[in-house]
């Protein structure tokens, strides 16, 4: 039970660090359902949770991995329109 609670703490730490880093690098706060740009909450939290669970499945968790995932997930969210762009001619 104690080990299970420690894993929950690592997930919470990575999400909190990613939101704080997103505030520092000025991600937009407004949530728009139509646009392809990332904002503070939408891809950031899902990318952080998914990467943390992949790392737990492959290697096991510790504090270094949590801080590193919290560092790279808002950077991915800031440049998500360049990595996976939405094209003009495909949309209706």
């Amino acid at each position: 039970m104690v080990i299970f609670m420690m894993d929950i703490y690592y997930y919470v730490i990575s999400v909190m660090v990613s939101v704080v880093m997103g505030l520092i690098i000025k991600l937009p706060l407004k949530l728009d359902k139509e646009s392809f740009e990332g904002n503070l909450f939408f891809p950031t939290i899902f990318i952080a949770l998914g990467l943390t669970s992949i790392v737990e499945f492959l290697f096991g968790l510790n504090i270094i991995f949590s801080l590193f995932i919290g560092l790279i997930s808002p950077i991915f969210s800031k440049y998500v329109n360049i990595i996976f762009p939405g094209v003009e001619y495909g949309s209706y």
Binding site: S53, G90, S91
Partner: protein, 163 residues
């Protein structure tokens, strides 16, 4: 004994149907076709006598992995890995949505809500039944009879005031 399994399968199917239809309607699938292939399918459904908004809904499901695919993938990953599989499925569905020219809100949030529902029902219904239930739920929309399904989806979207 088989009667209990059949009851579990049908109740899991109803839960999955409600989950993905509510999430998809809330994120605006019946309002407009997201990609240009969905507009072709919507106009064809209208030509054979169905509803245009239900046709856009069905075309958007065909052309990009939305909350229906999110529910199926979350149940598959929950079946092999537990709760943390649902989080992995959410991230992979987001990448798949972006490859299909879709902003990706419906797929990842549908996967998260399906994971929460499966964790809430984990004492009663095993995750194996949710996989079969999701296939039955998608069969009632895409495979049974397109005119009635599009009319039902259009009326439901109009009743939730999302058109």
């Amino acid at each position: 004994m088989e009667v209990i399994e059949l009851i579990k399968l049908i109740s899991a199917s109803i839960i999955c149907w409600i989950n993905f239809v509510i999430v998809d309607i809330y994120f605006g699938l019946p309002k407009k076709p997201g990609v240009s292939g969905a507009e072709v399918i919507g106009s064809k459904i209208e030509k054979i006598g169905g509803n245009i908004n239900g046709g856009y809904f069905m075309g958007n499901i065909v052309c990009s992995p939305d909350a229906s695919a999110g529910t199926l993938m979350a149940s598959i990953f929950y079946y092999v890995m537990g709760v943390k599989g649902g989080l992995i499925a959410s991230m992979l569905i987001f990448i798949g949505n972006r490859l299909c020219n879709d902003p990706g809100y419906a797929g990842s949030i549908g996967a998260i809500t399906a994971t929460i529902l499966m964790y809430a029902f984990s004492g009663l219904i095993e995750p194996k039944y949710f996989i079969g239930g999701m296939v039955i739920a998608i069969f009632t929309i895409q495979g049974l009879y397109h005119v009635w399904a599009s009319k039902l989806l259009g009326n439901l979207a109009k009743k939730l005031r999302m058109i």
